[in-house]
Symmetry: C2
Subunit: 216 residues, 2 copies
Amino acid sequence: MTFMDAMITPPVRRRGRPPKNPEGRLETRELLLRAGVAALTEKGFAATGLDDILGRVGVPKGSFYHYFDSKETFGAALIERYGAYFAGKLARHFDNTALPPLARLHAFIDDAKAGMARYAYQRGCLIGNLGQEMGALPESYRAQLGEVFADWQGRVAQCLEAARAAGEIAADADCRRLAAFFWIGWEGAVLRAKLEHSPLALDIFTEVFFAGLPRR
Amino acid sequence: MTFMDAMITPPVRRRGRPPKNPEGRLETRELLLRAGVAALTEKGFAATGLDDILGRVGVPKGSFYHYFDSKETFGAALIERYGAYFAGKLARHFDNTALPPLARLHAFIDDAKAGMARYAYQRGCLIGNLGQEMGALPESYRAQLGEVFADWQGRVAQCLEAARAAGEIAADADCRRLAAFFWIGWEGAVLRAKLEHSPLALDIFTEVFFAGLPRR
DNA sequence: ATTTATTTAGACGATCGGTCTAATATGACC
DNA sequence: GGTCATATTAGACCGATCGTCTAAATAAAT
């Protein structure tokens, strides 16, 4: 169960200051964030009402505004969390020196692909979704989304540099550019996969991307 | 001036059946479609209110529902029109036998890029935008969007086949797959270009795409 | 002159995001 | 163990905006 999964069992929700024991009990704030990621990756920011999110986890509106100042603040928290989640995923795969560099990238891709399959290709990438919606979003999101892409891209670039050092790709390969290309295309592939409820676009992108890497 | 440009001069708009002379006068329905494309490529479907569109061209709400049954019908008309517009653009470039096949594709890309530049990279692709939003859109759009992609992809595949026949790409290149890859990546690039208000993503995608094509 | 076709004006109910106050529960302190 | 402070939920409420619909107005057709 990843952080994106909304809890099924509704925790006993009582008025008043909660008991000290945080045993097992998922906090309300955490539930809201999970439900938010689920809703926004499916339907986007504008199409998702607060009541949507609240309804998924049985949290009343009053609680929402206790934990977040506004929908805008909430969205910013979601971007932050989603960015960090995938940064961790990237780091985990890229640090796996048991695999050669390109295989590490492939492993990340398989992981991400499995993530989409888990939700029957009905959820896309939060960052890509919000990017597409920027025209109607708080302007502050633009920089935040850019930073997430820069971070993800930097990690892929490092992995590609390792591949270059290992002789898996050409010695004169522009790894930063290739990493940018990867994320540009990957987001496009996620978009299509979600549209078609199918992994086909992910597979095509992956195969052609690797085939097109400069080998020497 | 392309069909996406909304008319500035507000035509005299009076109640009642209009005079017969259709001289020069852009029809209300046409104005609505243009404004719709502009609004939806900027902000998406969910975030665009009817009042947004109506306000851009000074058409009252009552007129909208005279020409279209609903926002859903309107959206379908926009997809149809946008799909056909780019199909025409593709056909025009790909039929230009004065250029070798790959140069024709490049010419289309330059054309599309110029289209984004014209609006300061604030408008994306209607088809990509709606694809991303599908989770909250009328289900009927899914097939319609898929058909548009299939059409565009088929045209690019034909162009690539011409390139293969001309020896510009490898004889065993899978043109249909490459065409799918192109559109997957191009939509991703448009998304990023819009997010960053910059042509950088378009340029990176274009360059790496051509560099990665199988040459022999 | 009357009817019919076409278009606009604006009222309408539902819902939205966001705010607010009251109610309720525990923790901390004496 | 009584009191106050802190934390959380309940849900009414507001102005704005959503998409829809009906009635009014005007020209064409007869």
